[in-house]
Symmetry: C2
Subunit: 498 residues, 2 copies
């Protein structure tokens, strides 16, 4: 914890990996591609989960739980779906081990071979729609508005903690509706829920849009998404919401009797966000000193560090520290009093800075005499000015000052990220300019595209930039495709992406 981390400007990727490790967020396990989420990292995920779950329930959804395993034959039922997911899945073939005959340990028992292999869920549309077939008979059974919090597995060759892991945690919403209009409205509603969470809680501005056909979820008629921009100028897809049409209803034969007693196919949606959001949160705000967290998602919002010599000073400082802690907790602020006697204040300052605690209060014997405490805010750190972000606060103003500072930080880091994105969003009209911006400036590039998968593919192969989305909020503007010169109805959002 004592040593710093690589600077973003030197090696962004090394900076990220070192930060994840030094802030005690997560680490790789011995199983390739599977991560261990450490307690501090998990506490941030829990804060995110709690808020997202509250938003789901406020929009009428309930949680449920479906099996981890999917029979192999289920995957094949929806043609596009199996193409998308069969390539990278964990396959269970046996259900027992036995002692090796040579005494070397345990081996797979060949007598315990499954008749049909089971796939560890990469996503649960197939298993859930096979349940919906049993649950849905009449229009009275609709809509079904479910979500599940679960682990899923997609076998990945190149992995990166939080951003791309073989096992990850996520929520997956799965809804069933009587009409197309209702399913479409649900799809858009959930995209908006994700955008609201990203902006108001993660303090990450996002662009809402529709995926091009080639980037669509395997089995969906339309994929909506929110796209965020990281500090290295690369985009990150932060959430997706899929309008499934009647595809899974057809694949699993899910029909209902409408009010006129006629049989119809059910309409579906699915939508998800994952522990990938942890990667977005880290990369959007953090600096060369470590993690920077929006106060609304910080497990510890305020840390109090005592400065003392000897037991007597420690007792006096602790009494006041605990009093301040109580007063802050009474107004809903989460506080840690770091009274460890095994570490010195300087170490603690660096440790909590690395972990992104928004506000630090330092309290010593001198402060007790003065009736003040030294407050430092995490979002203002200047290596050339030791006093940047610091402020001396009277005891009777601590609660109000802390509350105001937390609020100011939440707004401040959002605004900083938004200004960054604005600066890093470029409109280009030629392919030369397109490539130049990608190489020299990075960020989002708004350009005209002829709407064909062929052009999209060529641009991707030549520049590594993909269409992040067709933005929903931009006004239409006709033009010519930067690649083919063919007519285009609107600009789309390109970027190199995670």
């Amino acid at each position: 914890m004592s040593k710093g981390i690589t600077k973003r400007s030197e090696d962004y990727s090394a900076w990220y990996n070192e930060l994840v490790k030094k802030a005690d967020l997560a680490e790789n396990s011995d199983v390739r591609g599977c991560m261990v989420i450490k307690p501090y990292g998990f506490a941030i995920w829990e804060k995110m989960q709690a808020e997202i779950d509250r938003m789901f329930k406020a929009t009428g959804h309930s949680n449920a739980y479906f099996p981890l395993f999917i029979p192999k034959s289920y995957l094949s039922k929806e043609a596009d779906h199996v193409e998308g997911f069969a390539k990278e899945c964990a396959v269970v073939t046996h259900y027992r081990l036995k002692n090796a005959e040579d005494g070397s340990g345990v081996v797979v028992d060949p007598d315990a071979k499954l008749e049909e292999e089971l796939i560890v869920r990469p996503t649960s549309e197939t298993v859930i729609w096979s349940s919906y077939k049993k649950w849905i008979q009449s229009y009275r059974d609709l809509p079904i508005l479910l979500n599940q919090w679960a682990n899923v597995v997609r076998w990945e060759m190149r992995t990166r903690i939080f951003l791309r892991t073989s096992e990850f945690l996520w929520q997956e919403g799965h809804t069933a509706h009587a009409t197309k209009e209702e399913a479409e409205a649900e799809t858009i509603q959930m995209m908006n829920v994700y955008a609201e969470f990203a902006e108001n809680f993660m303090a990450v501005p996002v662009i809402k849009g529709i995926k091009s056909e080639s980037e669509r979820f395997a089995g969906a008629d339309e994929t909506y998404c929110i796209e965020a921009l990281m500090q290295d100028g690369k985009a990150l897809q932060a959430g997706t919401s899929h309008f499934l049409g009647q595809n899974f209803a057809k694949a699993f034969d899910v029909k209902f009797l409408n009010k006129e007693n006629k049989e119809e196919l059910v309409w579906g949606t699915s939508w998800g966000v994952s522990t990938r959001l942890m990667g977005a949160l880290i990369m959007a705000h953090s600096d060369d000193h470590g993690l920077v967290l929006p106060p609304k998602l910080a497990p510890i919002q305020v840390v109090i560090v005592p400065i003392y010599k000897g037991d007597e000073q420690f007792a006096a400082v602790s009494a006041k520290a605990n009093e301040i802690k109580k007063a802050l907790e009474a107004v809903g602020v989460s506080v840690k009093y770091d009274n460890r006697d095994t570490y010195k204040p300087g170490f603690k300052f660096a440790d909590w800075e690395m972990k992104g605690v928004p506000v630090r209060l330092a309290l010593g014997a001198r402060d007790l005499e003065n009736g003040t405490v030294e407050m430092a805010r995490r979002d203002v750190v200047d290596p050339n000015n030791r006093n940047a972000g610091k402020k001396v606060v009277n005891f009777d103003e601590v609660v109000a000052e802390v509350q105001a500072t937390l609020e100011d930080m939440q707004q401040g880091i959002y605004k900083k990220a938004l200004d960054f994105r604005t600066e890093k969003t470029t409109k280009v009209d030629t392919y030369e300019e397109f490539k130049q911006v990608l190489d020299e400036k990075g960020g989002f590039v708004l350009a005209h595209w002829d709407g064909t998968a062929d052009t999209e593919d060529k641009i991707k192969n030549e520049t590594k930039a993909t269409i992040r989305c067709i933005p929903l909020d931009d006004e239409a503007e006709t033009g010519q495709c930067i690649y083919s010169g063919q007519p285009s109805a609107r600009r789309v959002l390109f970027a190199r992406a995670y």
Copy 2:
């Protein structure tokens, strides 16, 4: 929903299965042994989780997340552990599917065979202690007090929803300590946390005790447990807490430098409760009309059913119903106003009775005139007396009456379960009597045992009764083993069990 369920006295097992289905709690999936937990069942589990999680945090624990997959070789590192868990596990051998050459769907790609097979975790000691090896160097790194909420898989041949399923949800606590005393205290603390949860929230009285050696967790030096009694006279183990000694520290070479700078092995504990608690909750309290829930764990504590003819009455009744709902919610009571126009009141009454909603308020046009509402409590249902458990309550007393009734029910169903257990606990001094009580009365049987696994085994084979535990709270009383006649230091608790 309209039809009833089999009576407990006719076929307890059928009663349980039908109740689980009709109360919309869960159902079997197409993957054998794996269940689907439906939204209403999951809402109960969420209430349990929230309370248990709060208790863990209040005792200093944090949540984390470890990989789903365990390398096969890890399992073998602790000799007893592998014996206990290798026999019933799901084994991942491949990481990809491919299209079948005959176009018949997808098949396992033989080129994608894993070098080392992965086991879907049956429990996570091995993967967690391999992390602890990296995390622990010094006494300053101890204790580690972690918990994880996760799914686990144990391949079961005979399964029963909630009680024994191949996949289940649970929490598993895993702690590491510098001293034996501290680890033992933690083990006992967590058993007490489980007992407190079972009694104060589930309203299920439990007996705390120690497992005999043959019933111990594979890899533990001592297993503490809480044992509950179901209405059919069978016991159910509701939670276990294991003192692991230094077994996993030895297996994974986890040592620390103590304050004197000497190397020592770390001490460990692990403890867990699972969705099995759902089975215990259902079987402890429910009746021939359906589920009976302790108010503290009921997702819906009060349901309001409107009785009306025509839109005008419906509007008037709804206005008052929503007013009552708001007033109850303001004091923290969860309320559902069942305003579905697709079902009649009689159907709704039976539906919510089946689902175990503690208090039902029926509100009609006549009630509006009288300024009253009809209140019915779920724990008092008498098929011979339509008015049993019913009460007419003035509008201005509804909130206080509901609160008092919920409190009274929480106490009342606990007392009922406790009285039942007291009546069904028998001290016996001969093997004849032992067998007679098991066959004719059931329940817990307190008897002397000579302490040998041989005797325990013979009794189990001859009577299907197992030693549930050596109770901690009973006074010692010497005697003679009912089977062998050898001396015994204390009675132990026998029962036939789930």
